[in-house]
């Protein structure tokens, strides 16, 4: 087991904190220590300007950094970002 849920929640909370200032949010869809997959979703429904939220690549890097500061070992990060693919 490479991570526990509390560490993931704490990392997501850190990032979500400043996303909320722009009206966005970030939540955990799934964090499975058996597969080492951490699956998050960005919510931008209430954001007036989606582009004002951290750009997708930067957001992903910020999330990864927050997780790596709390979790030792590898993990696979999946971020559902509604802005991607548009």
């Amino acid at each position: 087991m490479t991570f526990d849920r509390a560490a993931v929640d704490a990392a997501v909370d850190d990032v979500a904190g400043f996303l909320r200032a722009d009206g966005a949010d970030l939540f955990v869809r799934d964090a499975d220590p058996k597969t080492d997959r951490i699956h998050l979703a960005l919510v931008v429904d209430d954001v007036s300007c989606a582009d004002c939220v951290l750009p997708p690549d930067d957001l992903r890097a910020t999330i990864a950094d927050a997780l790596q500061r709390r979790i030792s070992g590898e993990f696979e990060l999946i971020v559902d970002d509604p802005r991607c693919g548009q």
Binding site: K34, D36, G73, E76
Partner: protein, 350 residues
């Protein structure tokens, strides 16, 4: 518990005990833990069998491996009681006649038992299946279970390089090789399930492997093309499996989880995957110099297209999923050839 193996007085100091282990020829070169009565008893308490139960007879010297003697070697390796059943299962597996311990413990080849573990106990026991699983992950289960089996072959089986084994090089696995399969990241049934066990069983599969054969790719986006390259790579010209009987032996191929996902998308049925690998694991007969080519022709190894296939059947290619998330790599565990992998369930005390 009343133990019957001989008692030996040794230095209590760790370094002095290490030196003594060399004098007694107990060690594979690495430090050992003292096999005190307490340590041995704790392991025997975790065994479903009595201490005098004969697990197997181990070549080359045909030493009788009782549960007690196996426990002594497991204590030397630092096996924790909950993991002792895995050592017993491995020894039961490798002593099956079709594994050919008789040949494999004495050959000039580098072959050694390579243990692959399935089941729910992998994480709890530190049986590595993620990044560095074949060296570096340092899980206690991986490092001690494999080593205990190796020490049994050395101390009970009497395998000694240059004396009772003719292995020219040996290989790093001769101090123990024990990995898990990352079942949760595999798009296919686990190795143990494919071999008839339940997902709830802890199972040890013993493969007569010659080492780790690394393969890397950073270019190919096409999963089928990548599998083609893997198949052709496994069929390297001096592979043991070109020397003997085409219907004997298996090649284990370890896919990292990222590649496994890609391969699972195009081959959701593992039988189709292994068929594809088998069909593409070949070399043209022209590759070999005439002296070798003649032998291959005489043995009927060349098909109508001038190809020499590594194996006869798809089931002789055995995919497993393990390793880290960095992608880019696969590892084959080439076979000695004249050996058939064996699996045994871990039995616990009732």
């Amino acid at each position: 518990m009343s133990l019957t193996s001989e008692r030996v007085e040794v230095p209590a100091d760790a370094r002095e005990f290490y030196a003594r282990a060399f004098q007694e020829r107990w060690t594979d070169g690495l430090p050992l833990l003292p096999a005190t009565d307490d340590a041995v008893d704790a392991l025997l308490d975790a065994s479903p069998y009595p201490a005098d139960h004969v697990v197997c007879v181990l070549p080359p010297v045909n030493g009788v491996a009782t549960v007690e003697l196996v426990a002594v070697n497991a204590a030397l390796a630092g096996v924790e009681p909950a993991a002792f059943g895995f050592v017993l299962a491995a020894l039961e597996a490798l002593s099956e006649p079709e594994w050919n311990a008789f040949g494999l413990t004495t050959t000039t080849s580098s072959v050694f038992p390579m243990l692959i573990v399935n089941g729910p106990s992998r994480d709890d026991l530190g049986i590595d299946f993620r990044a560095g699983c074949m060296g570096g992950a340092a899980g206690r289960g991986s490092m001690t279970i494999g080593r205990a089996v190796a020490l049994c072959i050395r101390n009970i089986g009497g395998q000694r390089a240059g004396e009772t084994t003719k292995s020219v090089f040996g290989q790093p696995a001769r101090t123990g090789f024990c990995i898990g399969e990352w079942e949760e990241r595999s798009p296919w049934p686990s190795l143990a399930e494919r071999r008839g066990f339940s997902a709830d069983d802890d199972v040890v599969t013993v493969h007569g492997g010659k080492g780790t054969f690394p393969m890397a790719d950073i270019h190919n986006d096409d999963a089928r093309d990548l599998l083609y390259l893997i198949a052709r790579s496994m069929a390297y010209p001096l592979a043991n499996m070109f020397l003997g009987n085409v219907e004997n032996g298996e090649v284990v191929v370890a896919f990292n989880p990222m590649w496994a996902e890609r391969f699972g998308n195009i081959f959701p049925d593992i039988d189709d995957l292994t068929r594809y690998l088998r069909d593409n694991a070949w070399q043209p007969i022209d590759l070999w110099p005439e002296a070798n080519a003649k032998l291959l022709r005489d043995r009927g190894r060349v098909d109508g297209q001038g190809r020499v296939h590594l194996v006869e059947r798809p089931d002789q290619i055995v995919p497993i999923v393990c390793g880290g998330l960095g992608s880019l790599h696969a590892i084959a565990l080439p076979s000695f050839g004249e050996s058939t992998m064996q699996s045994k369930p871990v039995v616990r005390p009732t």
